[in-house]
Amino acid sequence: MADLTYREAVAEGIAREMRRDPTVVCLGEDIGPAEGVFKTTVGLFNEFGPERIWDTPISEQAIVGAAMGAAMTGLRPVAEIMFSDFLACCWDYLANEIPKVRYMTGGQVTVPLVVRTANGGGLGFGAQHSQAVENWAFTVPGLKIVAPSTPADVIGLMAAAIRSDDPVVFFEHKGLFASSGPRPPEGHVVELGQAAVVREGSDVTVVALASTVPMALAAADQLSTEDISVEVVDLRCLIPLDMRTVLASLERTSKLVVVEENPYQGGWGATVVSIVADEGFQLLDAPIKRVAGANVPLPFADDLEKQVIPTVDKLTDAVRALAAY
């Protein structure tokens, strides 16, 4: 079957679920006839019409708040927040309302919704349109967090996210939209919380997510010419966090690098390595390295941006240092 792009996979993943479940509806800015600023909703308005694809005003609180109310009353809304930076505009819903309402009502309500958003940098959009903010969501108990790295995973995880009875924040990486890969068969579902070992290796484990997965694979290719064997784990989800796969990989390699685009300060890698330090200390033969975004706002110029986000070179340096340890 022909390949498809990551951006096409987003629309395809949503469309597949909308075909099988009439309660799935979409809302967001410019997602209708305009088909999304990132073209991630191409074809949806055409196929499903204005009754199921709703253009909204630029009102992030209304978008996510309305999605929450609809999810509590029988629909499965898929809300788009155009850039993940804009999650800050509706953060009340992600931090205080959606993840807490089930718990604070003693389980009386369920909130089966997906908040999709374009995340991450590398495209020169500057400080307010380039952030990798998956760690924002990672600070909030009660949210499931998905961040796929391939078109097939976009479709499989979108299916699982929309079918989930729990709220899911679905981070689509802007830097991956143009990438392509195999089109998965109909009915393809990737269960939430299952990491994938996307390359086997014996010297160093690299734990990656979304954009840092292809980065890790490129680094592994490069390092293989230096006789360094890298195993790459694609977490796919931050919540549920599949630590079993990470710890199992460390049993093989004994060395860990975590590569994450969000800032080092409070990044998700810190939690991953803290669990490894606590529960997998005896597996380690070297210190743990984290390659993460720098603790600065994202600069505009490409060369400056490269200084502060993870790159293949930064990752290969970290892996080399560990391999030689």
Binding site: A62, M72, G106, V109
Partner: protein, 325 residues
């Protein structure tokens, strides 16, 4: 409204008044912890509005929401048990005073972030519209909520999507301690904003349960007929301060006196007398309210504490709290 129905509403208001007094007394006795925002004086808004709704309509309320929960079927016992951290509480002692919820009867929560639930109500109304039911959603909110962004985003979305939602403002003249008039450039903080969104609005006596019933009935009829949202601004007054610690000394004595003479129970009683209901029947409703609340207090006091394992239930739809493997 005939005298039989009015007597029922009078009885409901009497139960709420006594429950709030019991909550206050138990707070002062150290049996209720945290804080409470009592609704004494504002009973007519909840009771009159609920009488105008269908059983399957949706209600979203605020942290001052005891009256809304009870008007939608929560028992005084469930409410007081929740305030007293008992296992039999409405939310299994996981919500507390500010989050009373009775989802089975459409009371979808009390939210303690000001204004956050207006978009949710719009979303529930959107859901009803998409599912083709004739349900309406109601957001009850205070005057203070009219200056927060979510209020304006919700009004705009509800108007542009013509949603079957009612925005019912309980204008009790004070945000917390500051008069709403000191921070708002229009005299009617909710109703005077309606024109900006093309939403019809009515300012009513929120202490007259019949007036509230009639205004909300009319607004609900409009919503069910597909004519979109309505704002009802109900003028009312709280008998206690903002929260339990607040003696409300910032309110002028003559203002307090004027409003105390305009008590919802007195107004309803006068209406009952005018309709020829005899004193005995009214006294009977009062006695029944006393019995219900006395029994509720005893039952709540004698109820068990929550099972400690409950701290780790109800995060996810599967009932658990697992976040990693």
């Amino acid at each position: 409204m005939d005298s039989d129905q009015l007597l029922v509403l009078y009885g409901q208001m009497a139960v709420i008044r006594r429950t709030e007094k019991a909550a206050y007394d138990m707070f002062m006795a150290g049996l209720v912890k945290g804080t409470t925002h009592l609704a004494s004086g504002q009973e007519a808004v909840a009771v009159g509005a609920s009488a105008a709704l269908h059983p399957d309509d949706y209600v979203f309320a605020t942290y001052r929401g005891h009256h809304h929960a009870m008007a939608r079927g929560a028992t005084p016992e469930e409410c007081l048990a929740e305030l007293m951290s008992r296992a039999t509480g409405l939310c299994k002692a996981k919500g507390g005073s500010m989050h009373l919820t009775k989802a089975v009867s459409g009371m979808l929560g009390s939210y303690a972030i000001v204004g956050s639930h207006l978009p949710m109500a719009a979303g529930a109304a959107w859901s009803a519209k998409l599912r083709g039911t004739d349900q309406v959603a109601v957001a009850f909110f205070g005057d203070g909520a009219t200056n927060i962004g979510a209020f304006h985003e919700a009004l705009n979305l509800a108007a542009v999507w013509k949603l079957p939602v009612l925005f019912v403002c309980e204008n009790n003249l004070y945000m917390e301690y500051t008069p709403i008039s000191a921070v708002t450039p229009v005299p009617n903080p909710a109703a005077d904003r309606a024109g900006a969104y093309g939403i019809p609005a009515e300012v009513i006596d929120g202490n007259d349960v019949v007036v509230v019933y009639e205004a909300v009935s009319k607004a609900a009829e409009r919503a069910r007929a597909g004519e979109g949202p309505t704002i009802v601004e109900a003028q009312t007054y709280r008998h206690y301060g903002h929260s339990r610690a607040d003696p409300a000394k910032y309110r002028p004595a003559e203002e307090v006196e004027r409003w105390m003479k305009h008590d919802p129970l007195d107004i309803a009683r006068a209406r009952l007398e005018a309709l020829g209901v005899d004193q005995e029947a009214i006294a009977g409703a009062d006695a029944e309210a006393k019995r219900i609340v006395d029994e509720a207090v005893d039952a709540a006091k004698n109820a068990p504490a929550p099972d400690l394992a409950e701290a780790f239930t109800d995060v996810w739809a599967d009932g658990g709290a697992a976040w990693r493997t």
